[in-house]
């Protein structure tokens, strides 16, 4: 019974925080909304008995990705400049697309035969240990594991290369931030 209440409260909080994350003009506040959603996701993982993923979610998403986004905000915007309009001109089309997506997903979930089903079997108490072994077993998931490692290394080197240098374009392209200050 406690699990129901936790699930209801956390899901409500997640949806509200997600709305904050996509509507707030202040990007730092939007990021804090995102952090709440990520943390709620970790709580739902605990409810789903995916303990390793819950911890990985907190470490990777909140510990790395959210911090990275905060750093990017600090590097790309003036702190006092963070109150521009939140949406661009054609935002109504985004409402149309998202609304269509919502209707389609609700229709699909309502007609999904296993949507009200119970779990078929309990999770093995040793599941995390078995998962660790399966991740590096040659007849298990060693190929996806290594491909993910190579992808992360490539992304790391690529990100450093892209963010390293580059000159500012002086030409006809308007320098918006300077214009606002002038």
């Amino acid at each position: 019974m406690v699990a129901y209440w936790i699930f209801a409260l956390v899901s409500l909080l997640m949806v509200l925080a997600a709305l904050v994350a996509v509507t707030n003009r202040n990007l730092v506040r939007a990021t804090m909304g995102l952090v709440l959603v990520l943390f709620g996701n970790a709580v739902l993982f605990v409810l789903l008995e995916a303990y390793f993923l819950a911890v990985a979610q907190v470490i990777i998403y909140i510990g790395a990705i959210a911090i990275l986004i905060v750093f990017a905000i600090m590097l790309t915007r003036h702190v006092g400049d963070a109150w521009g309009p939140a949406f661009h001109r054609a935002w109504a089309w985004a409402v149309v697309v998202a609304g269509g997506l919502a209707v389609g997903l609700l229709f699909w979930i309502a007609h999904w035969p296993a949507a009200d089903g119970k779990a078929k079997s309990p999770v093995d108490p040793q599941y995390t240990k078995l998962l660790g072994k399966a991740l590096v077993a040659p007849d298990g998931y060693v190929i996806p594991f290594e491909v993910a490692s190579a992808l992360l290394l490539a992304a790391l080197i690529g990100a450093i290369y892209v963010a390293w240098g580059g000159r500012r374009v002086k030409g006809p392209y308007p320098q918006r931030s300077e214009e606002k200050e002038a």
């Binding site: 390793f52 998202a98 078929k120 998931y141 992304a155 790391l156």
Partner: protein, 102 residues
């Protein structure tokens, strides 16, 4: 036990909100936040399906771990691109970077 459909509903709500954010926001970093919401919805879906339909196997969890890695890589490269764009153009608003518009 909480029905599978409840998790799917939460996941669908997060995905729709994230899609709206990715499509409607002006700032490039905010678009990335919307993308992260969509990634998280997919992650929640994968874990919920693993728990309810195939809890003895490893496919769902390994899939979720790969999603985590891809999201981390995507965010690192995306933010590096935005920083490079900001250096060049002095703005990170997605609708003002319109150099290719005639």
């Amino acid at each position: 036990m909480i029905p599978l459909g409840a998790y799917l509903m939460v996941s669908a709500a997060l995905f729709v909100i994230g899609a709206f954010g990715a499509l409607a926001r002006k700032s490039a970093v905010a678009i990335l936040i919307g993308l992260e919401l969509m990634f998280n919805a997919a992650l929640l879906n994968a874990v919920a399906f693993w728990r309810y339909l195939h809890p003895q196997g490893f496919d769902g969890t390994v899939f979720a771990i790969v999603i985590l890695a891809v999201a981390a890589a995507e965010v690192a490269v995306g933010l590096a691109l935005f920083i490079a764009v900001y250096r060049r153009f002095g703005t990170a608003e997605a609708d003002e970077i319109a150099l290719l518009r005639g």
